[in-house]
Amino acid sequence: MSTTTGSHPSGGAATRPRGGTEAPARPIPLLRLVQVELRKMVDTRSGLWLLAIIAVLSVGAVVLFRLFGPEEGHTFYGFAGMALTPQAFLLPVLGILLVTSEWSQRAGLVTFTLEPRRGLVVVAKSIAAVVVGLLGLALLLAVAAVFAAVAGSGDVWDLGARELGYFTILQVLAIMQGVAFGLLLMNSTAAIVLYFALPVAMNLLITFVEVLRENAGWFDLATGQAPLLTQVALTGEQWAQLATVAALWIVLPLVLGWVRLRRTEIKTA
């Protein structure tokens, strides 16, 4: 306490409470909670670093693909697909930290005293997460467009509404998986480890157990999502598989996590 000794200001008008019943009775609008969550993503060094790393890797992947990738792949879709890979890996981590920082950094105590409607805070975090995912998509499309234009021999503009739709679904699923895992485990380390370990475990199962391999599209997230990484229209069965794996790995943990949050005690220790 170096600077304050001897200079304690006396409580002035600022400490006087408003009298009576004129307390603002309006609840906090959802849009404002979304703004707050977006701000909380960029107002710490760690948050900024994670976003910077995602941006650098997105651009880096495109540059490497331009230098070392096959010439015929140097199209808008090819570049965009390259930039999507690092985002698909790291956006879930962003989603995880968006939720778990309330516990690991103990900021949740302030968050949930200012807004006790816990479900609404989760909705705000989810919207903020999707916004960031879409911004990431916009960035990678912009970078891919520049590279495609520079590479530009022949028909490079091979990314239509269908591919854009697939990319959007992939981005939203990726970041929402992070939010769901973070909410379910409420612990950064556990959620990140589970997020990276799960595909490895699934891969092993699918490789060695034939009956699982044949039906992987119905329960393995990576297999179920794989058709979205092509330029071919999904079949009805593929859509059903996508919906199933999304329900299993994203909706289910999100619902369980939400139930847990409703019941849990917000503590610091």
């Binding site: 304050t4 307390a23 906090i28 701000r39 005690e265």
Partner: protein, 299 residues
């Protein structure tokens, strides 16, 4: 006004808070006093809808906390000064709260000035703050929304004596204008300086409540004798509330004359007998929470 009505919280077989009932009046600072682990923080978390009570309820200005729209504008809460993202600057932490509550950003500067955090300190990351600076930031955060009710858990922890004096001035100013303040402490000295009313809690149960003056007046007698063990049994057999004082001797909830009479009847030689008003609330507090206080000594 805060109304706590029969709040109970159990964890498995442990009852952390056991049927706690008290009222915090507007215009007064109420000190919530008890040893560490007595249930103060759990009670305050239940009050702020962070912990679900097993039974009972609490009302702030007649409403349950979770029913208050934009509660930061009505209730200023500081439950743990350490509970801030260490990577944010002090100013940013307040800005996030101000944004959530929909306040003018100028309010952030006003509060920083009020709690005595300089602009240079406000630009530093909270992770590097001393406990005293975190407390000041937490108090600024609690006052940010211009609330009518303050709920502060151990706010004086980490403040120097000048800081405690500053907080007394701040809270006196707050309550003089009609505000309601509840603050907890495990240190009697802090509460004695700041509070008007007292609620004393031990092992999850309310053991005493009233105005500071009332609790001071009911102090009984302090007695030492050649044989405290025999005297303790004699006093208890006489129907008096007597406990061993951690400082030696016995504290009895009775007039010294009554204690002297018991000693004479049993033929126990006294070495000291006086009214316990000298130590004031301290002896009362130690007496009320003697069992917990003794555990504290061995820790």
């Amino acid at each position: 006004m805060i109304e706590i009505q029969g709040l109970t919280r159990t964890y498995g077989t442990t009852t952390a808070v056991d049927d706690v009932t008290f009222t915090v009046e507007p215009g007064r600072v109420t000190g919530f006093l008890g040893p560490n682990g007595a249930g103060k923080s759990t009670t305050m978390r239940m009050l702020c809808a962070l912990t679900r009570p097993t039974s009972g309820q609490s009302l702030v200005l007649g409403r349950r906390y979770e029913e208050i729209p934009n509660p930061g504008r009505t209730v200023g809460v500081l439950l743990d000064a350490q509970a801030q993202h260490g990577g944010r600057t002090g100013r940013e932490a307040l800005t996030v709260s101000a944004l959530t509550m929909g306040l003018d950003r100028r309010r952030v500067d006003e509060m920083l000035e009020l709690v005595g955090l300089t602009p240079a300190e406000a630009r530093r990351r909270v992770g590097g703050y001393s406990l005293g600076m975190r407390q000041r930031l937490g108090i600024a955060n609690a006052l940010l929304g211009d609330p009518q009710v303050l709920v502060l858990d151990e706010p004086a922890n980490g403040l120097d004596p000048a800081g405690i004096h500053w907080m007394r001035t701040l809270l006196a100013d707050f309550t003089r204008a009609g505000g309601t303040a509840l603050l907890s402490s495990h240190l009697l000295r802090e509460v004695e300086v700041i509070a008007d009313d007292l609620v004393v809690i031990g092992r999850g149960r309310i053991v005493a409540r009233g105005t500071k003056a009332e609790l001071l007046a009911t102090g009984g007698a302090v007695v030492r004798s050649a044989d405290d063990v025999t005297l303790l049994v004699a006093l208890q057999q006489a129907g008096l509330d007597a406990v061993e004082s951690p400082g030696g001797g016995l504290v009895v909830e009775a007039e010294p004359a009554v204690v002297g009479r018991v000693a004479v009847d049993r033929g126990i030689a006294l070495t000291e007998l006086r009214p316990s008003d000298g130590g004031g609330l301290e002896e009362r507090f130690l007496q009320l929470t003697a069992a917990d206080a003794r555990e504290g000594v061995h820790r």
